[in-house]
Symmetry: C2
DNA sequence: GCATAGGTGTCCAATTCTGAACAGACGTGG
DNA sequence: CCACGTCTGTTCAGAATTGGACACCTATGC
């Protein structure tokens, strides 16, 4: 018997396709860069699919420190926190001009049922758990520098455009935001990147950054 | 309309009850302290319910550094990672002599369906996401000392026994394990706890530790 | 053209953290 | 009751990190 994921791939649709099957009208919502899609404390029981653009999930402390949990882009689904609580526990913010589809939890679940995409949803949620778990692991076990390399690679693979051995990242993320993912300060990020530049791991072109896939991967993996 | 969680609480059973309804025989498995229930890389598509004892989820790096992701105790369910992958990406280890019920993913899902506990399962998974997310947030934004206070309180509330203003923790967790949750070294944990002792946040009785609920909470919340 | 705002490059003193080492405390099983 | 293993308490020099400051660069809008 094949695994549920693989075996049903041709039967059950992806979550993205589930959105297409939602029976009610699902207006596209537009957000400017920096606009809040939802914020901590909001009552919002809905799921989102990104049609275009870029969204970050973050949490902020009373003392003003921010933590960037994840970045999502075109085709990705977010908003799962509505299954535990009516109130959001994190912020979802557009990082670029962004278009999303919003569907109520109720309609979303109905569409999942109709599409028999139940296990697809389970796999999705469990993948999110694994992603966060890996972030915890990295924070606990790796140095800031290595963590930055890892974050850069992840971000570049998600948002970058291939260009020879490089992945081009044009203004997709600031040092400030990187520091909120890595768990350090902005000046450190700048210093680490300077080191990466000298060692050929990244290349800075004007304000944009190019990430050398191969070299960065090697750096992450050396003398584990 | 009530929230799905609350509104259906009397209709849909808890995940714990779902285990009771699994139609196949579900043998109890016993594990000694330190025994592996499953380990990174194992092929194991099953869910677990703890009948008694204490289990930790952890990940370890090639360089030998460990990260303790979560601690579960009697009545709690774990093993969700089987919904994404046939192979485990983390270790589940008994911290005390422990008895668990193991149910295959297949039987588990059948029982969930029969019990109409679908949304209960979704809420469970989403809660796990929120838990991990909070751990990431704490690692990124708080000092080690404050994080230790928070971890101590969480652990004490989960595993401790109330005793006046204190929660008694008898040998439930070592400094080494605390360091793997907090993301620092063992000697630091000892030093921080020494400070906590001097400020009355904890009390050490022989080898056991008592956590002062109120004072620790205040410490965590001061000058956010 | 100029002011402005947001991002980047740099510096540094004070602080925190690491990693390794060693001694003592406790409990268990010969 | 002693040896052994595991855990806690402590120390320390060297390394990494913080947080605040300041200069600069480059779009943008008036």
């Amino acid at each position: 018997m094949p695994t549920h994921n693989d075996g049903r791939a041709h039967l059950a649709p992806s979550l993205r396709e589930v959105f297409d099957r939602v029976s009610v009208a699902d207006p596209r919502l537009r957000f400017d860069a920096q606009a809040a899609i939802y914020a901590n404390g909001d009552e919002d029981e809905s799921m989102y699919l990104i049609d275009s653009g870029q969204v970050k999930l973050s949490m902020s402390s009373a003392s003003g420190k921010d933590c960037l949990l994840a970045i999502y882009t075109t085709g990705e689904v977010f908003g799962e926190s509505c299954f535990t609580s009516v109130k959001r526990s994190e912020n979802a913010t557009a990082m670029q001009p962004t278009v999303v589809r919003r569907v109520s939890k109720r309609d979303f679940l109905a569409a999942v049922e109709k599409a028999r995409a139940f296990e697809v949803l389970l796999a999705h949620l469990t993948r999110r758990i694994a992603e966060r778990q890996m972030a915890v692991f990295d924070l606990v076990t790796m140095s800031s520098e290595r963590r930055l390399a890892k974050v850069l690679l992840e971000v570049a693979e998600k948002l970058g455009v291939a260009d020879g051995p490089y992945l081009k990242l044009d203004q997709k993320i600031s040092h400030e935001e990187l520091s909120q993912m890595v768990g350090t300060t902005r000046p450190r990020i700048t210093a680490f990147i300077k080191g990466f530049r000298e060692r050929g791991l990244v290349m800075t072109v004007g304000r944009a950054m190019n990430v050398h896939r191969q070299k960065v991967r090697e750096f992450i993996d050396t003398d584990l």
